[in-house]
């Protein structure tokens, strides 16, 4: 399966898109998605523990991803 992932700011620049499809095995947790993304062109920008949101709420790396979840991998935030 593959998971559509929303990207923003420096991550969108690095991965070359604001929405990419990441191939993963199923079932899959956030950590598995991040591992797969590290293999992609641009994956070097990801820090040790990237921020991830599922359905517009923060989750930790052990959180499972379900089909249909809105997944966003989020660069260091700099609001304010």
């Amino acid at each position: 399966m593959s998971i559509p992932v929303l990207l923003f700011a420096s991550y969108a620049d690095a991965f070359g898109g604001r929405r990419i499809d990441v191939p993963v095995d199923s079932p899959c947790a956030v950590a598995d998605l991040i591992s797969a993304m590290r293999m992609l062109p641009g994956g070097h920008v990801l820090p040790k523990e990237p921020l991830v949101a599922l359905n517009q709420a923060w989750v930790t790396s052990s959180h499972p991803i379900s089909v249909g979840d809105e997944v966003a991998v989020i660069p260091p935030v700099a609001g304010g």
Binding site: L6, F8, A9, S10, D13, P47, L51, A53, Q56, A57, W58, A72, I74, P75, P76, V77, A78, G79, G80
Partner: protein
């Protein structure tokens, strides 16, 4: 396009912990925080009006503005980008957490996105309360938490013409 917070019309978004003081004066319905990500300049008086109430004796505001210098580099402007629906949800969560901790607080927040020039306001946080200490504590708390949790990014424009996404976690 302004993505206005849908919480505003939902009764479920009322702050559960807010006080209702009985009496001829001091009757105060729990205030539903107002939050928005906006693309046009923030109207500060209009935002203040959202926390006004006859029971409010103190309003604290925090305004973040684009300055011409960051980490020693001359800045000419900033692009702000947001994960807009989540940013607004997260602002709403932060405002409601403040309202739960600070009984009677009235909060309004707008964060601007797009390209801002030096001197323009990127964020305005307004907190109203009967007394000054809780009003000031609320703005201070909200700006600190906002900078940790709201998915918004900024790309600085330098005099050299270069642009760079700011990473507050970088050494």
């Amino acid at each position: 396009m302004k993505w206005r917070s849908s919480h505003r019309s939902q009764g479920a978004e009322q702050v559960p912990g807010a006080a209702v003081t009985p009496g001829p004066h001091g009757i105060e319905a729990p205030h539903t925080p107002y939050v928005a990500i906006v693309e046009s300049p923030i109207d500060i008086p209009a935002l203040m009006a959202r926390v006004e109430s006859s029971g409010v004796g103190a309003i604290s505001l925090f305004v973040g503005t684009v300055r011409d210098l960051n980490d020693g580099q001359a800045v000419t402007g900033i692009d702000y980008e947001a994960y807009q629906p989540m940013a607004e949800l997260e602002l709403g969560r932060i405002a409601r957490e403040a309202a739960t901790e600070i009984t009677g607080i009235r909060v309004a927040i707008e964060h601007r996105v797009g390209t801002l020039r030096v001197g323009e306001a990127s964020i305005v946080i307004v907190a109203g309360h009967a007394r000054r200490a809780p009003a000031m504590a609320a703005t201070q708390r909200i700006i600190e938490v906002l900078k940790q949790r709201v998915p918004i990014w900024k790309r600085e424009h330098y005099v050299s013409g270069e642009r760079h996404w700011v990473d507050p976690t970088a050494c």
